[in-house]
């Protein structure tokens, strides 16, 4: 008999409501011995998968905009996202991955040309705390991390994370021993510091002192090769962004910063050297070099010129060669003061 009714199509909103009911059930009970529980968790996994195939389509069909909109609207009408995030550790691996993809997709769904996910997150911004703290849980880190990166696509959410106390934790998360988790945290960190230009510039100028102090000591001077390599690359991306020009000017006026970059230039790793050069060139190109910067450059002039003389990228790179020529010219022309 049951099979007869099974074919009756459920609306996307129905599916969301059923999912929510089961999530509430899963949230309440953690007694794994309860007989019905396993059955219900299987049902829940199936529902999440159905939501995913509505949002992404499947091998037979492309997603339908109207169905996606219905689903999104019902999803954020109540607290489904919070339930899903809280229950995620109770789901099995496959359901966790599906849930992550559902959450990711929902961040981009527009209903009446509004990103309602953004409105929801602004009202429930504490959810970011759960997602960020996920990096401390090996089992959950990659799932929560992926959700987090999707959520910070919204500028207001990114601003919250940047200005929160959590920002300091990223300096440690980036260096977690599990490479996959550390790399995920690094990707999120980079996204936070590059995606929303005006927010980033505002954050950096307000938090300049502690941020770059941490950045220098914990990342650029880290004993970990990958940390240094990623950090110097990201630093270049940040400082070379036009919206951060005020921060760049400030950064290249500090002799401590110059010392750190010159140490990175001397590394045996070619990749780090090249990235360090892209930051170092800003010190040299600065037309208003403070006297202590000039004196360091002059004192190290011959060493630097020797270094640049056989400093090459593996592939031919015209821009790099031009930059190098410019830097050499600048340094050679410096007058001791």
């Amino acid at each position: 008999m049951k099979a007869l009714f099974k074919s009756k199509p459920k609306t996307p909103a129905d599916l969301v409501r059923q999912t929510r009911d089961l999530l509430m059930y899963a949230d309440r009970t953690s007694d794994t011995r309860e007989t019905k529980r396993e059955e219900k968790m299987v049902e829940l996994s199936k529902l999440i998968r159905e939501l995913k195939s509505i949002l992404y389509g499947n091998s037979e069909a492309e997603p339908v905009a109207e169905a996606c909109a219905q689903l999104t609207q019902e999803f954020f009408r109540e607290n489904t996202l919070r339930l899903l995030i809280n229950c995620l550790p109770k789901l099995n691996l496959e359901a966790r991955k599906d849930a992550t993809q559902v959450v990711a997709n929902l961040q981009r769904q527009q209903v009446h040309s509004r990103l309602i996910a953004c409105d929801y997150l602004e009202a429930n911004i504490d959810l970011m705390n759960t997602l960020i703290n996920g990096y401390e849980n090996t089992e959950m880190a990659l799932h929560y991390g992926a959700m987090l990166r999707e959520c910070i696509r919204h500028q207001s959410v990114a601003r919250y994370v940047l200005e929160s106390e959590h920002m300091k934790k990223f300096f440690d998360y980036i260096q977690l021993p599990n490479f996959d988790i550390a790399a995920d945290a690094a990707a999120t960190f980079k996204e936070l510091l590059t995606r929303h230009k005006s927010t980033v510039a505002e954050f950096l100028s307000k938090n300049y002192d502690w941020f770059f102090a941490e950045y220098n000591t914990k990342l650029l001077e880290s004993t970990n090769y990958i940390t240094r390599r990623q950090a110097v690359k990201l630093l270049g991306d940040i400082l070379l962004d036009r919206s951060n020009s005020a921060i760049m000017t400030r950064y290249v006026s500090s002799r401590d910063n110059l010392r750190i970059l010159m140490n990175l230039l001397r590394e045996s790793s070619k990749s780090i050297q090249i990235e360090a050069f892209h930051v170092f060139k800003l010190f040299a190109a600065n037309q208003n070099k403070p006297p202590d910067i000039v004196s360091i450059l002059v004192a190290n002039r011959s060493k630097l010129l020797r270094l640049f003389a056989d400093f090459k990228t593996d592939k031919e790179d015209e821009q790099f060669e031009a930059d190098k020529a410019q830097v050499v010219k600048e340094i050679a022309a410096l007058e001791p003061n």
């Binding site: 794994t32 396993e38 992404y56 389509g57 091998s59 492309e62 997603p63 099995n92 691996l93 496959e94 991955k97 993809q101 990711a104 997709n105 981009r108 769904q109 090996t138 089992e139 990659l142 990166r149 999707e150 021993p177 599990n178 490479f179 996959d180 550390a182 790399a183 995920d184 690094a186 990707a187 996204e191 995606r195 970990n224 090769y225 990958i226 390599r229 990623q230 790793s269 070619k270 990749s271 593996d314």
Partner: protein, 506 residues
């Protein structure tokens, strides 16, 4: 269920000191694969893929994606990662050790003309299960080939190497940072994979491709298992060349023409199944889950069948890898001679993953010269062919030539085999000696380890541990020294052999 989750959580140590490297078992442009023991886990065997980050110029994002993919996949036919962590400039990915190695290496060493069909059916079915799971997850493997299908001693088959895999979900999010488009197309456009196995729509990457590209590679892999090499592998793997051919060449006819010449019989359902995969039109290729229902897979046997028919008498992974290294030495000697031709052709070759097909190329060239059946005794050059799995050493003579210029390799080969059997005997002796040397080395090492453990036990005394470390270091150093001498020795011997060969040529 809960218990299962629990066992999955067994955390492998994230410190290189907890692993003892035993042997190198594979090597690519930017990664080396080792067999190793995990010391705190009862010295259990693991494989460690060590990715050199300094050499992989591609940004770290790709490596992040690869490690994330393997961390989150969970399927009996997919090689998972226990953990991954950094060791200075390298990332170590710790994985289960698949003791029988890759199908490509199994074929090269013991089945140069391909595997029997019932074995192929099992391997393909298991691989297809993996692909079906992957595709369902939104992942493309993008490098399906025998070199990436691994086997364990119990006959279980796993798909490995997600170095170029892609997720249709992720690719949209990473490129969307600039475009911001929603991900409905589920299409990729970047070129990835190894030329011979690449689907036409991947080579013509501007048109976009999706899961069906893996199905094409799967079809090519079927041919590879059946014949011992992928189609067209006698040609240099230049993309532009393959591009011209794959569009005109009807792969579905490949079976017919080749089967006749080889006198190998394959069933109709096998040929039909492969034909379906190799349809020029991706939309006509069946998806993985549908292909699984094909009649070819209906009466598939179990893993025990593979153990009996494929794994018995197979040289170990370590031995096979060493032989492939020896082959490389000979090819290096040769390369010096033919550098110019080599260079011009190799420019087109994607250097990554080249080891996979390189050897197959020669096997193809060498087949007529080295029959797999036992030769008759009055034919001196046939004798050494049957020596264990070591035919490969003679194989090597054609190596670089085969890669650089097929016609030249043919000439050199004829000469080397027919007029100069002594050369191969020489190599055979040398290899024997190397094996003996290696064995005694291993024995000594084991004895020393035994002595250390019986003398000091496992007391957690820091002083003793440091002495133990010291001794281990000394062993390691001696081992390295010997390894170097061994290498040098083999290089010299092979060079002599080659020079001899040349002088008789002239």
């Amino acid at each position: 269920m809960a218990e299962q989750e629990e066992s999955r959580k067994v955390q492998y140590p994230l410190n290189s000191k907890d692993y003892e490297i035993i042997d190198e078992i594979g090597r690519g442009a930017s990664a080396i694969v080792y067999k190793a023991l995990c010391i705190p886990m009862n010295f259990s065997e693991v494989a460690i893929k060590s990715i050199n980050l300094e050499k992989s110029k591609a940004d770290l994002d790709n490596i992040r994606r690869e490690t994330k993919t393997v961390s989150l996949l969970s399927h009996p036919n997919i090689l998972k990662a226990h953990c991954c962590f950094t060791v200075d400039r390298r990332v170590w990915v710790v994985m289960p050790f698949m003791s029988a190695g890759s199908l490509q290496s199994i074929i090269t060493s013991s089945f140069p003309n391909g595997l029997p069909e019932p074995c192929i059916a099992i391997i393909l079915k298991e691989t297809l299960c993996a692909l079906s799971y992957l595709h369902d997850q939104g992942h493309l493997h993008r490098d399906v080939k025998a070199g990436n299908i691994l086997m364990d001693s119990n006959g279980s088959v796993k798909l490995a190497d997600f170095g170029v895999s892609a997720s249709i979900y992720e690719s949209s999010s990473s490129s969307a940072s600039s475009a911001g488009s929603s991900s409905s197309s589920l299409m990729l456009t970047d070129v990835a994979g190894t030329p011979y196995w690449m689907a036409p729509e991947v080579i013509h990457s501007h048109t976009g491709y999706s899961f069906k590209a893996d199905i094409w590679s799967f079809g090519i892999t079927a041919l590879e298992l059946a014949h011992g090499r992928p189609p067209l592998s006698h040609l240099p793997p230049s993309k532009s060349l393959l591009m011209k051919i794959t569009t005109r060449f009807r792969f579905s006819d490949y079976e017919k023409s080749n089967v006749d010449s080889k006198k190998k019989k394959f069933t109709k359902s096998f040929k039909e199944m492969v034909g379906l995969c190799l349809d020029q039109d991706p939309s006509k290729r069946p998806p993985a889950d549908k292909l699984l229902k094909h009649s070819f897979f209906k009466y598939c046997k179990g893993p025990d069948f593979l153990v009996k028919n494929v794994l018995q008498g197979l040289p170990s992974v370590e031995q096979r890898f060493m032989m492939s290294k020896l082959r490389k030495v000979v090819s290096m000697v040769k390369n010096d001679e033919e550098k110019d031709e080599e260079d011009s052709l190799e420019e087109n070759i994607k250097r990554r993953r080249i080891s996979g097909w390189n050897f197959n190329v020669e096997d193809f060239e060498l087949n007529p010269v080295f029959p797999t059946e036992k030769g008759n005794d009055e034919n001196p050059e046939k004798k050494h062919v049957t020596f264990g799995g070591e035919t490969v050493i003679s194989d090597k003579e054609g190596d670089s030539d085969a890669a650089s210029n097929t016609s030249i390799s043919g000439q050199v080969l004829d000469v080397s085999i027919e007029s100069k059997p002594a050369a191969s005997v020489n190599a055979e002796n040398m290899l024997n000696r190397l094996f003996v040397l290696r064995k005694s080395l291993d024995d000594q090492r084991n004895m020393l380890t035994d002595v250390i453990s019986t003398v000091f036990g496992k007391r957690p005394n820091p002083e003793i541990i440091s002495r133990e470390d010291q001794l281990l270091q000394i062993i390691e150093k001696l081992r390295n020294d010997l390894e170097a001498v061994k290498k040098k020795n083999s290089e010299l011997e092979l060079e002599i052999e080659f020079l001899k060969l040349q002088s008789t040529n002239e």
